[in-house]
């Protein structure tokens, strides 16, 4: 499982957006969901918060794995989605950095905002959440078979754990 965290707070994310932007949120539904940053529910919470704050979110899109170039390109070209993607000016990929690179490549004419930082691979546990076991060199961490809980290393790696918006209580 790829372990990623948020680069920004919600307020920092807003500094990258304008109220004139036509925004698509585009989440991967794989690792980033288990990291509690992306997935349909967290994406919808973020979309709703942005709308409440006056931003123009024109679509919430989801793909099984965003690191697969052809799957993302389908959204750009197939009838069901091509018009809305043509209209968008900003895309926020809720995905790992591989997913971000794919989005930047496919939608090279748009502003694609890098909102996550990928730390390496690790293990997901329902009890402990995401645990980073095998970090990339950029983190400055060494392999830890028992895993680093992401909340404990967030400050060291300059990131934020969890979703951009806390789920609204029913």
């Amino acid at each position: 499982m790829i372990i990623s965290m948020r680069r920004f707070t919600y307020e920092e994310l807003l500094t990258h957006l304008s109220k004139d932007d036509k925004i698509i949120l585009f989440t991967c539904n794989s690792c980033i969901k288990f990291c509690e940053v992306g997935g349909r529910a967290h994406q919808h919470d973020l979309a709703e918060q942005l709308r409440a704050d006056g931003y123009n979110v024109i679509r919430e899109e989801l793909v099984g794995v965003q690191c697969m170039v052809d799957l993302v390109e389908q959204r750009k070209t197939e009838d069901a989605t091509k018009d809305i993607f043509a209209e968008a000016t900003v895309i926020i990929p809720l995905a790992c950095e591989d997913g971000f690179e794919v989005m930047k490549h496919v939608f090279s004419d748009k502003k694609v905002i890098s909102v996550t930082k990928t730390l390496g691979i690790g293990v997901i546990s329902t009890e402990d959440g995401p645990l980073l076991t095998t970090p990339l060199r950029s983190t400055g961490l060494t392999r830890n078979p028992m895993g680093y809980p992401v909340a404990e290393i967030a400050e060291k790696v300059g990131c934020y754990p969890g979703p951009y918006c806390e789920p609204k209580k029913p």
């Binding site: 499982m1 790829i2 690790g122 329902t126 392999r143």
Partner: protein, 165 residues
């Protein structure tokens, strides 16, 4: 597709096992490694049969959908008397196995090398190594064939690798 791996040769794997003493369990992932052609449920059973044929004592085989989801293996039943676990998965799967056996002397034996994080394109059946782990940084940008694990000579996925990856 997360993680790129390459197989460790069988002859190297068995150097870590003892025919006389080890009671061996094999555990496997059926996710990224399957797409890389380096491990899968089928390949685990093949390896188990080969080990048995070569005189090793295989007592358990444990297939999982995704070994990096800790709960799958944590809740799996593995014989109490195993002395070695052969892990058919990437390093996250290895760590998940180490977590399960952390309070024992069970030997954990790897079967793949974990090179780094990839993206893929099914149209040309390729993976590209985008974010390599430190030991494999010289392979950044190289491409592999999906499902076979074959390292390719040329590069066809035209995506730039960011500085620092």
């Amino acid at each position: 597709m997360v993680c790129l791996s390459e197989s460790i040769p069988y002859e190297e794997i068995i150097k870590n096992l003892n025919k006389e003493k080890d009671r061996i369990a094999l555990v496997c992932c059926n996710s990224c490694v399957r797409f890389c052609g380096t491990a899968s449920v089928e390949l685990m059973y093949e390896t188990a049969e080969k080990l048995k044929k070569d005189g090793f004592k295989v007592v358990d085989t444990v297939p999982t959908t995704c070994l990096c989801i800790k709960d799958y293996l944590a809740n799996a039943t593995v014989s109490d008397d195993v002395t070695a676990v052969v892990v058919c998965a990437c390093d996250a799967g290895v760590c998940s196995t180490e977590m399960k056996f952390k309070d024992s002397d069970v030997k954990i034996v790897e079967t793949v090398k974990t090179l780094g994080l990839i993206l893929g394109d099914r149209r040309n059946g390729r993976f590209k190594l985008m974010m390599p782990f430190e030991e494999y940084e010289d392979l950044a940008g190289k491409e592999w064939q999906m499902m076979s694990g074959k390292r390719l000579e040329d590069e066809q996925i035209d995506i730039h690798i960011e500085e620092g990856h």
